[in-house]
Subunit: 254 residues, 2 copies
Amino acid sequence: MANIKLVLEYEGTNYYGWQIQPNVPTIEGELQNALARILKQRVIITGAARTDRGVHAKGQVVSFKLSLSFPVFQLIPALNSVLSPDIRVKRASQVKNAFHARHSARYKIYRYVICNNFVLHPWLRNFSWWVPFPLNCKLMQDAASYLIGRRDFSSFENKGSPFMSPVRCVQKIKIKKQGSLITVSIKADAFLYKMARNIAGTLVEVGRGRFSPLDVRNFLLTKDRRKAGPTAPPQGLFLWRVGYDRDIFDKNSW
Amino acid sequence: MANIKLVLEYEGTNYYGWQIQPNVPTIEGELQNALARILKQRVIITGAARTDRGVHAKGQVVSFKLSLSFPVFQLIPALNSVLSPDIRVKRASQVKNAFHARHSARYKIYRYVICNNFVLHPWLRNFSWWVPFPLNCKLMQDAASYLIGRRDFSSFENKGSPFMSPVRCVQKIKIKKQGSLITVSIKADAFLYKMARNIAGTLVEVGRGRFSPLDVRNFLLTKDRRKAGPTAPPQGLFLWRVGYDRDIFDKNSW
């Protein structure tokens, strides 16, 4: 019984999010079907994050147990030949038995992409939030600094979250401007429901001058979701990376 | 009677190219319909380049005569509210009467995008050519240097071209690598039919070692299309920019 870790990229546009649901296409459902097709058996897979409908991934991580002696190095070409081109497997490796895509995760990075241009570039329409007015990135970065640390993020959590505690540790928020593209990258130990999109939506309000950086500090303190900015739309969000300890790989299997 | 110049961006994926044809969607057809809708009259438009099916544009230029007194600055929001989001008007200006999008063009730049990665990133699948083997950009740039100058490009012209002379002046070819993205930008006074894609297809053969840079010089001399490399697929190509003289604008209209 081998424990397998996959890393996936996907465009979320045509899926109802990660989590499997009856009668609608989901990333988890597509991957489970693809695995069933090549392994001739059903496996139960775990994703590191349950991305929402329309959200993309550059580094979603999946783990599952494999009872067959299917060669790990053949998983990538086999799965990619069966999956639709909007889902790609980019890494496959055998990991220690204790590895679990979600529980073993040390941090996650989400990246939010803003098209800050007079018109929305056609090639970015499924991959960014179109914000056509000027944004002050310096103010956005100042506001973001108040969100760093272990804090109660109730003001940035939407209802429907399965988590008990609203405390999360945000390690870094980086705002970068390249031409008409602005990216907001957020690294945290874990994220509350819609937390990345609520932070992005709030920082855009700061960038356009509706909130000051100090307002953002106050939003945290009130612990009231209604105070902070709107939830940014899903198509700008990428699950960028999930980080683990270095010693997860099963060296005996090589 | 005002002479109008528009600059467009579009994703060509869902269109049968620029040129209007019966019963299929084309960029020219969509733009002509949008203009008819907002101006309540049919206008005849001229595009600087007839991009092929699946080819994109970041800077297609269009000109047409406008008999109505429709305010030029309202053309952008009016057209964009009517056009599908995969076509955007990004500039509109009144130009001198002699201006013609195609005849007045001094140069064109096409950019060809290659996804040079083990897997094809889902978000690039409609916007790049997936080349999964290593490419030597230095050799590609060396080969490109033989194509610079006023030369007979018969070896890089597909049949079906409406042009009489196969002589074109290529001013610059720049190959750039950024992560897994390789771009080939070609600046010329004008392009023969599928010339940009034939140059890109040939340079990729050089990059993977099938042709040497010197072979490319010889392809030019043979003037035989069958000698040079394959036509690169359309989805990697962008009409990047069309250049004109600086004095095209009609200052009296301001």
